[in-house]
């Protein structure tokens, strides 16, 4: 079954992670054929999650720490495979999971635009066509030709977001990164995302910022213990989320 660009389907998706400080094994263990016993049991990060997002939808994903939000995003991004179930995404998936995850610290901002574009599968010509817009959006000024090692975290964010926002995403996966920017840049990001959505892009946003989810997302999925606890319009999901978290539903502030 194929999916349309911007569409994303999770079917009964399950994924467990073993909790170990040292993640690799050693050959000795393999040869002796014995795994070290003990330690905590594997954590079921996704436990039969089904989700169907249509092109152009805006979906917030909320839940307590460890509820499976980030894991779900990494599964959707195709970074982590599933133990069971299936995931399908249509079109160009652009992920913003961590500030400047793909940055070369000794590369200048401009060089990192090329590196990051390439990481998303773009060629030189495609990146050059977007370069001016990206640099302008980032508001970095002369810093575009300084190594990103000299950047503040806000500058990192601006560059990372500027790149992600200009890759013609069909699906945008964003994990809690917008919080670093100042208010005016946050607004600019939200506007840019809104325009991409208007043009048909799909947004999946993981955030603990309830207000941001309410502003940006028409639909919200509440995850709890790796399962979908609620999936529906944000207006109904948020009260459910606040009850789940045991926090009082914030009263709307009258302007």
């Amino acid at each position: 079954m194929t999916v349309a660009p911007g569409e994303l389907v999770l079917e009964d998706a399950s994924r467990a992670f073993s909790v170990r400080a040292d993640r690799g094994r050693t050959l000795k263990e393999l040869i002796i054929g014995r795994e070290r016993a003990g330690g905590p049991a594997p954590v079921q990060a996704l436990d039969g999650v089904s989700l169907h997002v249509r092109p152009g939808e805006t979906v917030g994903m909320v839940g307590r720490n460890g509820a499976g939000k980030s894991s779900t995003l990494r599964v959707l991004a195709g970074i982590v495979p599933l133990d069971a179930g299936s995931v399908r995404t249509g079109g160009q998936v652009v992920t913003l999971l961590e500030l400047g995850a793909g940055f070369g610290r000794d590369f200048t901002g401009r060089e990192n635009v090329f590196l990051n574009g390439a990481l998303h599968g773009l060629g030189r010509a495609q990146i050059e066509a977007r370069l001016d817009d990206i640099l302008a959006f980032s508001e970095l000024g002369d810093f575009v030709d300084a190594p990103v090692a000299t950047y503040s975290s806000g500058m990192y964010l601006r560059l990372a977001f500027a790149i992600a926002a200009h890759l013609d995403a069909d699906i945008l996966l964003i994990d809690e990164v917008l919080a670093v920017g100042d208010e005016s840049f946050q607004r600019k990001c939200e506007e840019r995302i809104a325009r991409q959505i208007a043009a048909g892009a799909t947004l999946v946003l993981v955030s603990h910022d309830a207000a941001l989810v309410e502003r940006s997302c028409a639909r919200t999925v509440v995850l709890d213990g790796g399962r979908v606890a609620f999936d529906g319009p944000t207006a109904q999901a948020m009260p459910f989320y606040h009850r789940l978290m045991g926090t009082p539903d914030p009263q709307p502030v009258t302007p």
Binding site: F17, D22, R23, G24, R25, T26, L27, K28, L30, R74, A77, G78, I79, V80, P81, V93, T95, L97, E98, A101, G102, G104, R105, D106, F107, E111, F114, L115, A118, L119, H120, G121, L122, G123, R124
Partner: protein, 258 residues
């Protein structure tokens, strides 16, 4: 692998990043890529050329250098490829892209050093020994085969090390005796008259035929034997096919492992 057209640009960018990162901020910068192996070659020449005086071999320094360059490419590629996936863990955990570009770019950076050094030493060898021969046309074929051979092994080493953290230490422990068993500062026929032992030195060590092939062309001024050429080509194909298959099979969980 050699990444397809879609990811060739990514591959190019990763090589640039690799080149930039290694000796960042050092006064000599990229020159370190050449200085390290040159110092190593000087040390080995001192050891085998001066102290032990293995002078039965004519133009011993050139004999040594040509073999040593191949060995340095081989060993440095494996040693830097093995931990490469772990070194790029942040990238692997957060972005989706063909993972084999990481070890492939590491090996390519080593290959660039290798080609520069080989050009230097190769020209000097050909001039001093007068070994310019039509067999030189075979050199690109042999070098490509060597690259493929090393790349295949490096892919395997990288993905295995991500799964089993003792692969890199085992490798670095194994490479030292391996060096002394490789025909770098000796010719197998010089140290043993036994047919079996000689065959083991010449054919049992997979890097030996590559050293022999490069040396036959540059130092010997003739084509390597057909048996050596066949070994070199089959070894390259085998290493690449098996290394790549292993990588693809074991790469799924990389984002969790690194």
């Amino acid at each position: 692998m050699i990444p397809g057209v879609a990811h060739r640009y990514l591959f190019e960018q990763m090589v640039r990043r690799e080149l930039r990162q290694k000796y960042k901020g050092s006064a000599l910068g990229v020159a370190w890529y050449l200085i390290n192996p040159l110092v190593l070659m000087g040390a080995y020449y001192l050891l085998f050329g001066v102290i032990f005086e293995l002078q039965r071999i004519p133009d011993f320094p050139l004999f040594l250098m040509v073999g040593l360059i191949v060995w340095i490419f081989f060993s440095q590629s494996l040693l830097s490829a093995a931990p490469s996936l772990l070194d790029h863990g942040a990238l692997i955990r957060k972005a989706r892209f063909p993972r084999e570009t990481i070890p492939a770019s590491v090996v390519t950076v080593q290959a660039i050093t290798f080609v520069v050094l080989l050009a230097l030493v190769g020209v000097v060898t050909i001039v001093l020994r007068g070994t310019l021969d039509v067999a030189l046309l075979l050199l690109p074929v042999v070098l490509l085969a060597l690259f493929a051979f090393v790349l295949g092994l490096s892919l395997a080493a990288a993905v295995l090390h991500a799964h089993f953290r003792d692969v890199a230490p085992i490798l670095s422990a194994a490479l030292l005796p391996w060096f002394f068993l490789s025909p770098i500062f000796f010719r197998p026929e010089d140290i043993t008259g036994q047919a079996l032992a000689r065959a083991a030195l010449e054919w049992g060590n997979p890097i030996a035929p590559y050293i022999e092939a490069v040396r036959a062309i540059l130092y010997g001024g003739g084509a390597p034997g057909l048996d050596v050429l066949a070994y070199v080509l089959v070894g390259a194909a085998l290493s690449l096919v098996v290394g790549r298959a292993l990588f693809l099979r074991l790469q799924a969980e990389l984002a969790v492992l690194v």
